[in-house]
Subunit: 773 residues, 2 copies
């Protein structure tokens, strides 16, 4: 994730949009300018500004608003009721496919990881058995470390050299995509391939990572691919689903894909739907939500079904997700009213530890952005982490003497005897050797005396720092499972301590319950998700009774954590300077109006415009606008003309490419007829303007935009308050909002960056700078 923004550069807002900046100061003459002046006096000019204080201009927005131009309306009007039904059915089919493929991918990852981990365990165990007797344990250590490093190296090489966007969990990128920001290459087939291989390598390489986060990204890529009915990477067009080749439809499917990913990862179909809604939805659409739910259901069912076959238990649908918390029976782990304050306290601890995790990771990421940005360095760092992880584990195991009898009812699959007596196994070794998923489950469910407190304490400490170091490496990996594992470890520790204070045999006695609460607290403290995480946790535990405690814990963790620092994903989004729009405008922004917020002056085009002017406008690299209001000049005066439409750069590019010119010279006034199909074929990789050759003769031609522009763009008057502008913009998923005066003349344009600039900081409303990074 951190690999994208490698250079820290910025420019001031005033440089960027010249006159507008001054105009703002003049027109407003009030709090804003004074506020900004104060800010700049107070600012520490010596400090190098981190790029989270900037908004990058390199990110484009997605067009969630339908471009209702004449072509589109004509097509829609031609369509019968039956065609709409067919479309609806094909949406369902696509969602079913998305769910099925996502489930298959999850299944594939799971099986490959299981098999490879089994082989690794066998090799290391045989080695240990062979050499422990001759005292050469260090050989086993080296073998282990080398094996891990090789896996991690493979995973890291493909990520760092072939597809850096596949690094990390991909959740921040999907959040941005669903928010409406076009992150380059995020939903390509290549990204998916690298992601899947990468996550297998990093999990088998024994890093402190999970394979759940990447599933969300994988689901999203699957969705973006399937729904388009073609692959640009493979250069295959199946001539299907052509109607879905626009941002609005694609976004809907990507939501479904992300939900299917969550669903496959955690066996939580409802949690998946809520995740997609929490991150992506602005406008609630009942049919869409229902389809998303369908994709999620199919996804968890597919995974469940194929895993049941893999486990030689066909038909036993008890593996709904990659991670399975095991069944919490109400009787054994009931809670009481007076335990709720304890849970809340644990939530606060989770918030604190989460904030610490995030701050450490933030510093690390800054360091990485500055110094570790060459791919080979990144690969080396990843290998270093793998080796250190192996060494630390081995050291911990070496110095631990927590031996547990073998063969209890919840027996471990990979017990290691090591320095224990026969018939016993080393519980620290188990915690480190197991896949993290298994460790979480054993922390939740093992008998009260399975782990001793010292083991848990040391494990928490080391795993915390390892996980923190690992997140942000150039490998594909998630942070969900490590967080759960850290939390489960200290949660279980809390449980054991509480049980030792009070009498045994009481309701306090089961540390598994506290492990669950600790896991929720830690995860909540790191990622700060709320509603969806509660539902995911509840679904993963399969016990509704735990809803309230988990919710309270997550709320506490979020409140405590937010006091110090933002959530991990938000930190990484900010470090990339993505213009991310939150759900609502900052509370104290009512004194700002569209006049102050908008960019101005605006480059407008005439309804019948000279081709040369259009080419020049598009080629102007200093502005690089993506949307242009179309105007009609009523009288040939100086005054701004009346707004009559809006046209996008991508549309103009297609028009230029197809030479849709009115050749005045030959007095042929017919334009070449373009179809919507031409726009859809070019979607989503529109060529840059530089690749389109326009001859000098053609530059003199005229172009009639009437048919292609959106004739009814949304507009607001200049006096509209920022929250109102924000609401309109967000609710409709707009890309451009035209600001007009009371004569319907264009005075400005509000885009995502203009709104994302304002955010609530420690000292009230802050304004971010825009940068060309």
């Amino acid at each position: 994730m951190a690999n994208i923004t490698k250079k820290v550069s910025w420019s001031s807002r005033a440089d960027e949009s010249g006159a507008a900046g001054e105009e703002t100061a003049l027109l407003n003459g009030s709090e804003l300018s004074r506020h900004l002046a104060k800010e700049s006096q107070r600012g520490k000019p010596k400090e190098i500004p981190h790029n989270e204080k900037l908004l990058s201009l390199k990110y484009e927005s997605l067009d969630y608003d339908n471009i209702e131009n004449q072509l589109f309306l004509e097509e829609e009007r031609r369509m019968s009721y039956m065609s709409f039904r067919c479309l609806e059915i094909s949406r369902w089919v696509v969602c079913g496919l998305i769910g099925f493929l996502t489930g298959l991918i999850a299944c594939f990852i799971d099986i490959v990881v299981e098999e490879l981990a089994g082989i690794k365990y066998q090799v290391v165990k045989e080695n240990i058995d062979k050499f422990t007797e001759v005292g050469g344990l260090s050989i086993s250590l080296i073998l282990w470390a080398v094996l891990n490093s090789v896996f991690v190296m493979l995973g890291s090489i493909i990520v760092a050299f072939f597809e850096p966007i596949a690094a990390g969990s991909g959740i921040p990128q999907i959040k941005c995509y669903l928010n409406g920001v076009k992150i380059p290459r995020v939903v390509r087939l290549k990204t998916l391939l690298v992601k899947v291989c990468g996550v297998i390598c990093s999990v088998v390489g024994g890093l402190a990572v999970g394979k759940e986060g990447p599933m969300i990204h994988s689901g999203a890529v699957v969705a973006a691919g399937v729904s388009q009915g073609r692959s640009t990477s493979l250069k295959r067009d199946f001539k299907m689903f052509e109607y879905f080749r626009r941002d609005t439809e694609k976004r809907d499917f990507v939501s479904a894909g992300a939900a299917a990913g969550v669903s496959a990862a955690f066996g939580a179909p409802v949690g998946g739907v809520l995740f997609s809604l929490e991150e992506g939805a602005s406008f609630w659409n009942q049919m869409l939500t229902w389809r998303i739910f369908f994709a999620s259901m199919i996804s968890t069912f597919t995974l469940n079904f194929f895993l049941s076959i893999y486990n030689n238990n066909p038909g036993d649908l008890s593996n709904p997700g990659l991670i399975n918390f095991g069944r919490f029976e109400s009787e054994s782990v009931a809670y009481n009213l007076y335990e709720i304050p304890l849970f809340i306290a644990m939530g606060a601890i989770g918030g604190l530890l989460g904030a610490l995790f995030n701050i450490l990771n933030y510093w690390l990421t800054i360091f990485r952005i500055r110094y570790v940005h060459r791919p080979c360095l990144q690969v080396m760092e990843a290998m270093l982490v793998a080796a250190v992880t192996a060494t630390v584990s081995f050291t911990m195991i070496y110095f631990s003497n927590d031996c547990q009898p073998l063969g209890s009812e919840h027996s471990e699959e990979y017990p290691l005897q090591l320095f224990c007596a026969d018939g016993e196994y080393n519980s620290m070794a188990t915690a480190f050797f197991n896949t993290p998923e298994r460790s979480v489950r054993s922390l939740f469910h093992n008998q009260p005396r399975t782990y001793n407190p010292l083991t848990l304490g040391l494990f928490t400490l080391t795993y915390f720092f390892l996980a923190c170091w690992t997140y942000g490496l150039a490998v594909s990996a998630g942070v969900f499972i490590p967080s759960l594992l850290i939390g489960a470890a200290w949660g279980r520790l809390c449980g054991i301590l509480l049980a030792s204070i009070t009498s045994t045999g009481s309701i306090w006695a089961d540390p598994g319950k506290y492990a669950l609460i600790g896991a929720a607290a830690q995860l909540g403290g790191i990622v700060r998700m709320t509603l969806s995480l509660t539902v995911i946790m509840v679904e993963a535990t399969g016990n509704v009774t735990y809803g309230l405690p988990i919710m309270l814990v997550l709320m506490t963790a979020k409140i405590v954590g937010d006091y110090f620092v933002e959530g991990l994903y938000d930190i990484h989004i900010k470090l990339q300077s993505v213009p991310f729009l939150h759900g609502e405008a900052p509370g104290t922004s009512h004194w700002l109006t569209a006049r102050e917020v908008m960019s101005s002056p605006v480059t407008c085009l005439n309804r019948i415009e000279k081709v040369g002017t259009i080419v020049d406008t598009l080629s102007n690299t200093s502005t690089n606008h993506n949307g242009f209001p179309v105007v009609v000049q009523v009288t040939g005066g100086d005054e701004p003309a009346k707004l009559c439409g809006l046209i996008l750069r991508s549309q103009l590019i297609v028009l230029l490419k197809h030479k849709v010119f009115v050749e005045l010279a030959r007095s042929r006034l017919t334009q070449r007829k373009l179809q919507l199909k031409d726009f859809r074929d070019a979607y989503p990789r529109f060529p840059p303007i530089q690749s389109i050759h326009v001859s000098q003769d053609e530059r003199e031609c005229m172009m009639d935009l009437t048919e292609f522009m959106n004739p009814t763009p949304y507009t607001v008057p200049q006096e509209t308050s920022l929250p109102r502008v924000f609401k309109l913009f967000r609710a409709l998923g707009l890309r451009h909002l035209v600001v007009v005066d009371d004569e319907n003349r264009v005075v400005g344009l509000v885009t995502r960056k203009d709104l994302a600039r304002y955010h609530l900081g420690k000292h009230g409303l802050e304004e971010l700078q825009l940068a060309q990074t």
Copy 2:
């Protein structure tokens, strides 16, 4: 529900908005008019038009769009960051209170019903024991029927005479409220009281009803009351939460209340949230959803906690809802892939039976609207139903010989021996005598051989018709539980038949599983809810594994049912002619534009307007508009003036009441300063214009609307397509949308009724008539 619209009267659209109708025909000159002409030729003029073909003009809309006038903006700008934080905290407090009170009410209903039902059972059982030996079973029957009728009479009297809006489940009304329609008296304290008492009476009276649906209405009323910090009915103002006294905030709390109601009824907090979102949300707001979830959680927790005390089991939180499906263990009721087609077939049966139920109930409701509209008739009908229910049950019991041994593991709480041998009980009697909740549970969980097929078949048949007759009576009662019961009965029957076909001991052997599927199918076939119902069912069964089958079943039931008739709630909403807006514009409506849809001409007010004109405009009963565009005349010509704002009837009323006049005669140009508080105090029961006295002198004064009007109303150009208008209207929860020409002059106004008129019928797009009913 049916009691509101008692008279069937209508007027044509052309009468209602004179010139506009003609203009539409002229301007459009296309498919619409031709289509309408065809329709009227084809129409059967002899048939009396049912009022579902009309939209009533008597319903007003709620103002979900903030009125951002100067007063509001000044207040917001004065507020510090801390005040916003405090507001946010008080929102959470209110949601917590809503959840707590809703949970308490659910608990109260449950306990009172249990106690009264226990007493009734004792009385009847003693009587039976006493008289069976002397052969006078008819005395017991009469006693039973009388007892039931008395309870139902009480319940019916309070509903029919005191608060007719409290009849039925209240779900259609809450759907309408959340959709943005102001249903009179729906969220008043009196309604709540009548609802609670009414539901107790009807459940204890042995009607085929449930107490779950009414909880949703109760929760909504609680929310509307608590959030306002005062009670208009009790004339108490606690001077709290004054900020929340507007439709936007109130709606948010009502969503939370409805969710809390669902949560308490079914122990389904997530289902509650999704219900609220499915029915109410247009704009997804993360914090709001989170608060709704909080209210739901608190509600189920409160219910659980107090019921555990009532059951002498404090701390055992195993009663999350009023209805508890019991625990479905994965092992005992696992399903296999090849059972899925069976489930889908059962879904289709559920859809068919649901459609039959709805059609019968529709005819019944029409009959009731025409002939049973006097309160005393309604009470008599309710008593008749109660007596018939009792008689039918007794007859069924009398002719049934399904005796089961007493004292199996799932023993019944109220076993009746009747004509069985000692040590046995009559299973038909159990099915009828139990509360429906208990019967559902025993159908789900009892041992395979507990019910014989004939009992189930007869029970299904009678209960189907009884439930159908009961819904729509003037009693407070829900249709959820009867539907579940019918479905569970025929589902179990299917299970038994399947088991008898195949070998015993196989996976088919457990009929409880099929009872669950049948219950879902039947409920889905009747109410046609999708996402929320799936989640409610999954949460109530406590088993995520059943998610996919339940979802498939509900989908099938909806598809099959929708082929014949709409869902029960939608039928009742239509019969009330409520202008209900669905999520999206009809698919084939792209050829309609704002020009055709809007009402015109529009009554506009000048920014500085004569008081007399305002009073006359407001008093004009023939138009009865609620929102007026405010314009400024640029030059004193005939041309329409430029739009500069929008003002509501309610605001004008407050202004008139406080005599905010500029008295030109005395050349005092200061208006009395009004505060937002004055508007909030008058909310929500603004006085009618008739009650405000304006003297002849005052009529000559002027009124300056600048400060009070919303200066930035949303506008669209005339060419905007209907789906685009619809999307804007729905996403922002608008009440008025001004249509302007390209000079920013008002040409029309789009309101809810203008959009709700268009709907997709069997023959494509249909247009409903507007009526003054």
